[in-house]
């Protein structure tokens, strides 16, 4: 129980770091969605593009996160502020599940439905916004959910380059060999991941097309 006493004693900092963590995860997921969903839509409609795009996102995924943070550090404008750098790295990691699920969701729409829609004179954008996206939305959202859960974990590593967030407690605890401090970072992070997972899962079920 001494963990919770420690967290209570440092509640201001716990709150501050949690908010920082949320900021890192929230902004990077938003950026990844803004890039990844349109990209997923494009590759779902142009079969030749899906392999290079998904392959590229996959390669990013294989770069160890600490290494990626390190690679980006010397980049001029980015390297100037650690949080910019962390947000970019987290965005890159979040791309794969979002692109992949958007692609899968749209490709999963019954071809007969698309053909009927096109045959009755829907424009490509009407087909996209009235048919394909509504039918794919729950699959897309489940990609966003995976991205958020991954980001919450990854963002703890961003503290290694000084980007803040709950990783600060974890690294400090590691240095001090103090479990209480590690847990003061790990527990709120786990709660964030769980909370985001539940909330987005709920939304996903609500939006699932009949």
């Amino acid at each position: 129980m001494s963990v919770f006493r420690f967290m209570l004693q440092n509640q201001r900092q716990v709150l501050e770091l949690t908010l920082e963590h949320l900021w890192l995860v929230g902004l990077s997921t938003l950026l990844a969605a803004l890039i990844g969903i349109p990209l997923g839509i494009v590759i779902a409609h142009r079969p030749g593009l899906n392999k290079p795009v998904l392959g590229g996102a996959n390669i990013i995924q294989t770069i160890p996160s600490l290494a990626l943070f390190g690679f980006l550090l010397p980049v001029p404008w980015l390297g100037a502020r650690a949080d910019r750098l962390a947000i970019l790295a987290l965005t890159l990691y979040a791309l794969l599940p979002i692109i992949r699920n958007t692609y899968t969701g749209i490709r999963g729409v019954d071809p007969a439905v698309v053909e009927a829609g096109r045959g009755m004179g829907l424009t490509e954008s009407q087909l996209l916004f009235r048919v394909e996206l509504p039918l794919a939305v729950s699959v897309i959202l489940s990609g966003v959910r995976v991205a958020v859960v991954i980001s919450v974990g990854l963002a703890t590593i961003a503290a290694a380059i000084g980007a803040g967030g709950l990783g600060e407690f974890i690294f400090r605890g590691l240095a001090m060999v103090d479990d209480r401090v590690i847990l003061a970072g790990a527990i709120p992070a786990a709660i964030l991941a769980l909370g985001a997972d539940l909330a987005l899962g709920w939304l996903e079920r609500r939006l699932r097309a009949r």
């Binding site: 019954d110 007969a112 439905v113 698309v114 053909e115 009927a116 829609g117 096109r118 045959g119 009755m120 004179g121 829907l122 424009t123 009407q126 009235r130 048919v131 509504p134 039918l135 097309a209 009949r210």
Partner: protein, 261 residues
């Protein structure tokens, strides 16, 4: 001076030397075909003979490699493809109802996009459901709550929504059980007697072709073999037509009789 041929009406749909290839495969070769106002032209042939391709060339889901397809006297490439398609009803075997829309929204989608007022759409949907033999309370159902036969009735209603002059039907009753198919064929005939749409109907079922068609266009390996009335088809000496008649065996005469009664 325009030539006057009062006896020969202008075809609503006309294929002029149309060929189509998918990659290196020649799917259609030199098809010439005319579909007259108010008739039901059946494209009959086995799988891969080019029936569906022919149909999709009409509403430009496919574009010919050579030749041209004319709709209402003008090449169908001359205008906007979206306008062309909205004037042509399209019914396919897999129905393709929008699963996230109720029956009412499925049927009313094109009118809605066309900007009809809500009340007019509601009345039109009601009218169409009655026309295809569905109870009004079906309007609020979702496609997955309907039987196969009911789904295809909705498919037909949806195709008729904006009152198109032309109807393209690609094996619309092919996936239904025999009894339901019989019902829908009968209703198609009575519907067609009232509406007099210009219909192109794809099937591989000779019995269905004899029953529903004003004329039957027989296709084989991407070519149009012959175009005959149902009566002519049964007596035809054309080897492909004769082969079809043999394959379907006895009792074909009665199929026509039922159709025209």
């Amino acid at each position: 001076m325009a030539e006057m041929h009062p006896a020969v009406a202008n075809p609503v749909i006309e294929f002029r030397d149309v060929s189509y290839a998918a990659g290196s495969t020649q799917v259609l070769s030199g098809v010439n075909l005319q579909v007259q106002l108010g008739e039901t032209l059946v494209l009959l042939g086995r799988s891969g003979s080019g029936k569906t391709t022919t149909l999709k060339l009409v509403n430009r889901l496919l574009s010919p490699g050579a030749g041209e397809v004319r709709v209402r006297g003008v090449p169908n490439t001359s205008g906007d493809v979206i306008r062309l398609r909205r004037g042509i009803g399209y019914v396919i075997q897999d129905v393709g109802l929008f699963p996230h829309f109720t029956v009412e929204r499925n049927v009313g989608l094109v009118p809605r996009i066309e900007g009809w007022p809500d009340e007019r759409i509601r009345l039109r949907v009601e009218e169409l459901l009655r026309l295809v033999g569905l109870a009004p309370e079906m309007a609020s159902r979702y496609p997955h709550q309907l039987s196969g036969g009911q789904q295809q009735r909705v498919g037909v209603a949806r195709a008729l929504a904006a009152d198109p002059e032309i109807l393209l039907m690609d094996e619309p009753f092919g996936a239904l059980d025999p009894l339901t198919r019989d019902d829908l064929q009968r209703e198609f005939l009575s519907l067609q007697q009232r509406l007099r749409k210009t219909v192109v109907f794809v099937t591989h079922d000779l019995r269905e072709a004899l029953r529903l068609g004003s004329r039957i266009a027989l296709m084989e390996a991407g070519r149009l073999v012959t175009v005959l009335t149902p009566q002519e088809f049964l007596r035809s000496t054309d080897p492909w037509a004769a082969a079809y008649v043999r394959a379907f065996g006895e009792g074909l005469e009665s199929a026509i009789n039922r159709g025209t009664s």
